[in-house]
């Protein structure tokens, strides 16, 4: 399927940018006239991916996060990428309630929420090179 629109941004790995990123993604997706529930799902998943890049990718230090949003006729694909430490064991990271940072009171639900709130989730990661999360949300025809 051919994309109908595309947008790319990059921003600093700062927690204040979590809300910036999810609002931007939702504003871009609104061109497809999704429901409020679909938008809320998208915002939650984007927030999880960006938070993941800040806390785990860059370990709350300086870094750049890249967000690429591609619109199709009935869906949006969001790619969130960091050049941080990477994930050692992706399968382990996907297990609900698993967290590599229990001292931070993390719920370990980030990937479970992304998986459940989006229609597809793909995680590519290399230790020492970074992580790329690709997720797609389909919007129902209205």
């Amino acid at each position: 399927m051919q994309p109908i629109n595309r947008m790319k941004i990059e921003f600093e790995s700062k927690s204040v940018n979590e809300s910036f990123a999810r609002i931007v993604a939702a504003a871009f997706a609104s061109q497809l006239d999704p429901t409020l529930e679909e938008l809320a799902d998208l915002k939650t998943a984007v927030s999880e991916a960006v938070t993941n890049a800040i806390i785990h990718g860059y370990e709350q230090k300086e870094g750049t996060i890249f967000m690429d949003c591609i619109l199709y006729e009935d869906s949006i694909t969001v790619i969130i990428e960091d050049h941080g430490v990477g994930i050692e064991d992706i399968e382990k990271a996907r297990i609900p309630a698993f967290t590599s940072k229990p001292e931070l009171e993390r719920a370990g639900m980030g990937f479970s929420i992304m998986e459940s709130f989006m229609d597809s989730l793909d995680i590519e990661s290399q230790k020492g090179a970074g992580t790329k999360i690709t997720m797609t949300k389909k919007f129902k025809k209205r």
Binding site: S15, T44, E105, A107, M109, S116
Partner: protein, 130 residues
């Protein structure tokens, strides 16, 4: 003069934390209002509960728990417009703290999208949500 982020008392017994306006770290889009009646502490949250905001909420609640004994912690989420798993971590952390103090915790009035995150995370099996 009230410093940003400090607590103040009002005649009604409510005390409210004003917005953090530290421009260096960015504004936190979350207001916290606390109400204490006997040993019940009710925390009213208004705004977006994400990783950027949780440390402020955590510090505020934990400070209250050491100040005076609390047997029940109620989190009123009627005005929370957004929450992700950072909020879940905060809730589980406070639930465990209340449990270790011999108390309980419940969540009140979550909106539809907040309830979805709470249910997905299994919190509805852990504590009362009404």
């Amino acid at each position: 003069m009230i410093k940003p982020g400090s607590l103040r008392f009002s005649k009604t017994g409510f005390f409210r934390e004003i917005k953090n306006i530290n421009r260096k770290n960015g504004v936190i889009k979350l207001d916290i209002t606390l109400k204490r009646q006997n040993r019940v502490l009710t925390v009213y949250l208004k705004g977006e509960l994400d990783h950027h905001a949780v440390s402020k909420v955590k510090e505020t609640i934990d400070l209250q728990l050491v100040k005076m004994p609390v047997s029940q912690l109620i989190l009123d989420m009627s005005a929370v417009t957004f929450m992700d798993s950072s909020g879940v971590g905060l809730i589980v952390g406070r639930f465990n703290k209340m449990k270790s103090l011999g108390g309980s915790m419940k969540i009140k009035n979550p909106g539809f999208s907040i309830l979805k995150v709470l249910q997905m995370s299994g919190l509805s099996r852990l504590m009362e949500i009404s």
